[in-house]
Symmetry: C2
Subunit: 443 residues, 2 copies
């Protein structure tokens, strides 16, 4: 027979069983935290109609459209064109609009699914990956409470992931109203100004200042204060207050701007709500802007403090109107998204995972000979009822071979049903046991 | 703004939060059972190269191929064509071949993913759905042990699904070697004979007999014995033995056929292995054939006894050679697959689910006023540490409004942090409680 040797497809990652075990631990943990705050799960189809995706205008994202391989003549035109979703925000907006009357608001949902980007194959760039999103959507108005809940949840999620070095993660929060409020009265290209300020950590304060001063319009007189503002980092509302005051003493901020005042007030309130978190876990960082046409208030980013150039691993913010393309309702929301697969793959490549277990089995039940099959099967059943995962060895082969199988799969305990004994593979100890009462030793 | 009112896309189901909660219970249960037998999880990308899918020859399945919406000129031809997988067997074969050296055999894996069929839109036909598969793959030879493990696992899975009426499920097992062994010496169109015998339950013994007798070849003399065989149903190996003996007394079965003898022996051994299951949960049913070119020994089907016409909800069998299209190894396997979404949707439509809960929250924490925010948040955190899911109400609104929110989301308990009391929404009772020690009453 002809053999077609398969190769990995660029951008479509897959993991070995021992890596997948860790991925499941991550997923379980994320789900547990999301649900512990009362977020419900939804899943949407992998596809949306192209008309839904492009309801706001032309789609600039790289997306995959579907074609049926065995399309019959005369099929085309009748059916709606389908595309794989490239994020979970468009599907959420469509879902909320479509099921509006069946949902209870504020609608708190999480969504853990794959998304697709039809990009050119490129090293390190995923074309299929998991995203873990939480959003809260409400009708007409949305309390600030939820803006503050997001970083608390994300902190709990990220700091509890197996293999994650918690001390290296920092959540950064800002409010776009602060900078935009100040810019409102200034004749300048706001988008361009924000784009420059966003890079302040990378390029430094001096270069930021020079770039701002080179812009046309009235900006150059404000460049100093903007740079000072964007450079602010504060671990609590008191520090934020003080740093803003320092600038104000020098420059007199336009504290008459309603937007500025609201932005500062909201940001301080959020920091106060988060005072139970470890110091420095969440910081106010006024340089955070996040995209330029979507978010309207609070914005979030999450970086590795030892590698900020890697970019944000978890971002989001508040938007005024989620689903106006699909329904005549004002639906403000706030949400945050973890780029799961990229983060997982980073820690995987860094060797942060314990991949010694290749099987979920806690115990390998030895099959000493055919005569003991029923005894062995019965012991396995009793242990399973007690929530242990038990693999019954498949043939009465040499004990050495069975032990080697447990070792190669990383199964931590081996049970000898004929001897009524359990072997601890790590400690290399063996002891009497009954399936009704055995407990593994605590590590 | 222009509003594009979205409609459901035919064949791509999605569920409301209260239905999704049940779907998660199903998934969790299935995973738990699979893992309790030592099966590890893998996931493969949603796509395979079209060359991989068609390595065995032309693809007769309806599949979706991907096209990039914003394809640049000159892109085509360079990249491999990608198609969404239509099952999890082709991806498994490719996975095993590709990672052969990193896997420990026998390789026991489960896979719970979406698959796609690019069919014409049609009522009741899914184009995207979940499949839950388990397979065991080994090198060169595979012990019968695994053929017997499959029905035990599936029985435990199906009988434990919330909303499932266990007494209506029946697993049917046969071995294709039995009928094929008998047909080996007969000049006939085997495929056609099997196709007719497969329908015996639907069309009855008399019509089956007539159809067989109308075939060309030497078949008509054997038609009686084939019909009697295919009509055999036996709940244990003793009954199977006896029923075969009865036929043999009358017709003299060609027990000289090695294949027949092996098939009967294997089937009896499997029934013996399964003697711990409730009587009638698994029956030998010699009419089961399952596809005509794939399985080589044991075959499985699962039907609703009160609606056998609905078709099999969970099927599989043994195959001699999984991955010969991709690797020069003999890799026999045995596997079984649950058509998850179709089964879930059936029970959903039949109203078998308790959909009173629209949220995973166990407790709604009342926010009586802003002064109690920290007290409330702190009580919520303590309860979350104790593994309760707690939603903190988002604004200090009227208590009546907060209670109504809990009711509409089906949250079973409401906590008053100012009163140190908990209200049981079902029993409509209220009692003193501390977040450190509270336990819900058992139902």
């Amino acid at each position: 027979m002809n053999v077609y040797k398969p190769k990995p497809v660029s951008g479509f990652p897959e993991w070995l069983p021992e890596e997948r075990l860790i991925e499941q631990q991550w997923m379980d943990h994320i789900r547990k935290v999301f649900e512990s705050y009362g977020f419900c799960s939804i899943e949407t189809p992998s596809v949306e109609e192209l008309d839904v995706i492009s309801a706001k205008g032309e789609v600039d994202k790289e997306i995959y459209v579907l074609e049926r391989l065995h399309k019959e003549d005369g099929d085309s035109g009748k059916e709606a064109r389908l595309a794989l979703h490239f994020d979970q925000t468009v599907p959420l907006a469509r879902y909320v609009a479509q099921h509006f009357n069946d949902l209870v608001f504020p609608f708190k949902r999480y969504q853990i699914q794959r998304v697709w980007r039809g990009e050119r194959p490129q090293a390190g760039r995923f074309r299929e990956f998991y995203q873990c999103d939480i959003d809260v959507i409400n009708v007409d108005a949305l309390p600030l409470h939820f803006d503050a809940e997001m970083p608390a949840i994300i902190w709990e999620v990220l700091s509890g992931l197996p293999g994650m070095e918690t001390e290296k993660i920092q959540l950064r929060v800002s409010n776009r109203k602060i900078l935009l409020g100040l810019l409102d009265d200034i004749d300048c290209d706001q988008v361009e100004v924000l784009r420059i300020l966003d890079k302040i950590e990378k390029i430094g304060e001096q270069e930021t200042l020079e770039l701002l001063q080179s812009l046309s319009g009235d900006i150059s007189g404000f460049a100093h204060v903007l740079v000072k503002l964007a450079a602010i980092k504060a671990i609590n509302s008191g520090e934020l207050e003080k740093k803003l005051q320092d600038i104000n003493d020098e420059y007199i901020l336009s504290s008459s701007s309603e937007s500025y005042v609201k932005g500062v007030g909201d940001l301080k309130a959020i920091l106060n709500y988060l005072s139970h978190l470890p110091e420095g876990a969440v910081v106010a960082d006024l340089s955070i802007v996040r995209g330029l046409d979507y978010y309207t208030g609070t914005v979030y980013e999450t970086v590795f403090t030892d590698d900020p150039g890697y970019g944000s691993i978890c971002s989001g913010g508040r938007y005024d109107d989620l689903a106006s393309s699909y329904i005549n309702k004002k639906l403000p929301g706030v949400g945050i998204s973890i780029g799961f697969s990229r983060l997982f793959d980073r820690l995987r490549q860094q060797g942060n995972f314990d991949i010694s277990r290749k099987s979920p089995a806690d115990i390998l039940m030895i099959l000493p000979d055919e005569e003991h099959r029923e005894t062995a099967a019965n012991a396995a059943r009793i242990l399973r009822k007690r929530n242990f995962n038990v693999e019954l060895y498949h043939a009465p082969q040499k004990i050495k071979k069975q032990l080697s199988y447990a070792e190669r799969k990383g199964i931590p305990y081996v049970w000898f049903p004929d001897l009524h004994q359990v072997k601890d593979m790590k400690r290399q100890t063996q002891a009497e046991a009954t399936p009704e009462h055995w407990q593994p030793e605590k590590d």
